[in-house]
Symmetry: C2
Subunit: 342 residues, 2 copies
C-alpha cells in the first residue's frame, strides 16, 4: 500500500500563500486574522482535506480534542444511555470520547487520580456520571486545569445536570400515599465506598418527607437495602416476605430494584398490585413491558445536556461564568403495579 503523505499545516500554508502561523490562527478562529486570509485558509484546508494532528496540537500546548467520560459502570441501563448521549454530543462537536468505566472498583478511581496529570494531558475535559468523589478528589479535579461537568452530582464546583432526586422519590411515595397506602416499605440503594449510589440518600429523604407530609413516620425495619440492582431488589423483597409483615406498598428507589421485587413476589405466588403495590424510579424500557408504575427521568437528556455544557466551556474558555446546576423534570407514570388500597 502507498503511504499517503499526511496533509500538514505547511501544505495549507503553501496553498493559501500564507504563513503557517496565520493558518494556525485562522483554523482556530483566533482574532487578528483578516477575512480575506480566513477565507483563503478555509478554502485551502477544505481543498486539501486538512485535519490537524491532535498529537502535534497537544504537544505544542493546544487541545487534545478528546474528552473523558467517567462512569461507575458502562453496562447499567442508565449509564449506557447517558454515555451514548454524551458521546454523540462530543462526536458532533469534533471531540473523541475516552470511556473510563470504574466498574465498581475503587482501585480504578484511585489510578485516575494518581495520574491526573497524565489524564489532563490526554483529554481536554472530563464528564463525570454519578461518580462518588471525596472532597479532596473534587479539589484535585477542580485544580487540574481540566474542564469538568457532571451528571447527578451535588455541590460540585463545576456544571452539573441531574434530577431532583428527593422530589422524584417524593412523587413516587406520594402517589402510593394518595392511593390510600400507609404501610410502606422502601427498597433503598446502599451507600458503600466501593459502589456508592450517590442518589440513594436523597431519594430516601424524599420518601421520608412524603410520609411526614401525611403525618406518618419511617419505620426503620421497612427500609431495606437493595444495592439498586435487580438481584438486590429480589433479595430485599424476599426478606420482606419471609421475615416481616408485608406492607401494602413498596417504593423501590430505582426500577431495577423494583424488577427484583416483582420477581420475588412472583416466586411466592404474589403479584402486584394484587398483594402489594410497587413503584420505582427511572422508567427503564422494561418497566413499560412489565407495567411498572414509576417516576420517569430523562436519562439521555441529562447526558447530552451535561456534555453540551462541557463543550461550551471548552469552546468559550473566555467566558468564566459561574458553575451552574440544572434540574431536569421527572414525571409520575402510573401503570399497572400500583392501585388504590381498600
Amino acid at each position: 500500500m502507498v503511504k499517503a503523505h499526511r496533509v500538514t499545516i505547511q501544505d495549507v500554508a503553501v496553498l493559501s500563500g500564507l504563513s503557517i502561523c496565520t493558518v494556525s490562527r485562522a483554523l482556530r478562529n483566533l482574532p487578528n486574522v483578516s477575512e480575506k486570509a480566513q477565507a483563503k485558509v478555509a478554502d485551502a484546508a477544505a481543498k486539501l482535506g486538512y485535519k490537524a494532528s491532535s498529537a502535534a496540537a497537544r504537544l505544542a500546548g493546544g487541545n487534545t480534542g478528546s474528552i473523558a467520560i467517567i462512569a461507575p459502570t458502562a453496562t447499567a441501563w442508565f449509564f449506557a444511555q447517558a454515555v451514548e448521549a454524551a458521546e454523540e454530543v462530543f462526536g458532533d462537536s469534533g471531540f473523541d470520547s475516552v470511556l473510563i468505566s470504574l466498574r465498581g472498583k475503587s482501585s480504578v478511581k484511585r489510578k485516575i487520580f494518581d495520574d491526573l496529570l497524565g489524564l489532563s494531558q490526554r483529554v481536554d475535559g472530563v464528564l463525570l456520571l454519578n461518580v462518588d468523589l471525596s472532597e479532596s478528589e473534587v479539589a484535585l479535579l477542580a485544580a487540574s486545569g481540566l474542564a469538568v461537568a457532571s451528571v447527578g452530582m451535588t455541590s460540585v464546583p463545576w456544571d452539573n445536570v441531574g434530577i431532583d432526586d428527593e422530589l422524584a422519590a417524593w412523587q413516587a411515595t406520594s402517589h402510593l400515599l394518595g392511593l390510600g397506602h400507609w404501610d410502606l416499605a422502601v427498597l433503598s440503594g446502599r451507600e458503600t465506598q466501593e459502589n456508592s449510589v450517590l442518589t440513594s440518600s436523597d431519594r430516601l429523604k424524599g420518601f421520608s418527607r412524603a410520609l411526614k407530609d401525611h403525618h406518618l413516620t419511617v419505620h426503620p425495619d421497612l427500609v431495606i437495602n437493595s444495592d439498586s440492582t435487580i438481584d438486590g431488589g429480589r433479595k430485599a423483597m424476599n426478606e420482606l416476605i419471609a421475615h416481616r409483615s408485608l406492607p401494602t406498598a413498596v417504593f423501590a428507589d430505582c426500577d431495577e430494584a423494583a424488577f427484583g421485587a416483582l420477581m420475588a413476589m412472583r416466586e411466592h405466588g404474589l403479584s402486584a398490585p394484587k398483594n402489594v403495590s410497587v413503584i420505582g424510579i427511572d422508567d427503564h424500557p422494561m418497566s413499560w413491558f412489565l407495567g411498572l408504575s414509576t417516576v420517569a427521568q430523562p436519562v439521555a437528556d441529562q447526558g447530552a445536556f451535561a456534555a453540551n455544557l462541557l463543550v461550551d466551556r471548552l469552546q468559550n474558555a473566555d467566558a468564566p461564568n459561574e458553575p451552574s446546576n440544572h434540574f431536569l423534570d421527572t414525571k409520575l407514570i402510573e401503570r399497572k403495579t400500583t392501585r388504590r388500597q381498600r
Copy 2:
C-alpha cells in the same frame, strides 16, 4: 495553584545518568539495552513517577496508547457488556478506550472512513463490534496500518471472536422441534443498510437447517421481521396474532425480540408456554426474570477475548501470525416459556 512541572524523559535521563535515547529504548523494552541500564532507567522512572506523553510519542512516530471501540450502538445490552469488557482489558494494558457509537447512522460510519487517516493518527488499533462493513471498507481498514480485531464479524482479514450464530439458532430451533413443535414462526432481524444486524442471516440459516433436519421447510409467511428490538418483536408477534394462524412455537433471533413477542401475547390474553412456546438467543438478564428459554452466549467474554487479541497484536507487532477466528460456546437454557407440544 502551582503548575507542576511535567516529568519528561529528559528528567529520567538525567537521574539515571544515561542519554534520552537509551532511556526511550529501555522504557519500550527495545533490544540493545544492557540489563544494568534497563534497571537504572526503570528505577529512575519509578522514582520520578514518569509517564510518557502520548502526544509526543505519537507525533514522533510511536504509539498513541489508545484504541477505538466501534459499535453500532452503546446502549443495547449486548454492546454495553462487550464495550465494558473490552474497556477493562484495554485499561489494564495501559490503553485508553475511545468509544465510537455509530448509533445506527451510516453517516457516522462514513465519517470514520473519510477520516481514516485522522483516526489512525489518534489510535493504535480498532475493535469492531458487529459492524457491518462493505468490502471496500474492510480493505481500507486492513490497509490503514491500524491493528484491527472484531467481535461477531465473518470473513475479515483480522482476528475475530464470535459465536456460531447458525449453530445457536439451530440449537434453539431444535429444542422447539424436539418438544414436538412443527408449526414454527421465526422473528428475524432484518438486514438494512442503516442498521444491519450481521448475525441475523446466519441465525435464519440455522433455523432453516434445523427444520430441514426434521424434514420440514420454512414457510415464508412465518418469517417475520423484528428489527431485533423489543418493539419490533412486539409488532411482529401482533401481526402473527392478528393476521395469520398462530404457530405453536416462535423462535426469536434475540431475546429482546422475544420480550416483545411475550408482551404482544400478554396484550391479547395469551401466554407462553400455554398458547405458544417462545425461545430467544442471548440470555439477557431479563430473560431469567421472565423465565424465557434461550440460547446463552458469553457476551463479556467475546469482548474481552477480542480485546486481548488486539492488545497482543499491538504488543508483539513482530509476530505476524495469521488472523484467527474464534467461536465461543453457546448453550441452551430451558426455562419456562417452552414446553412439550401435545
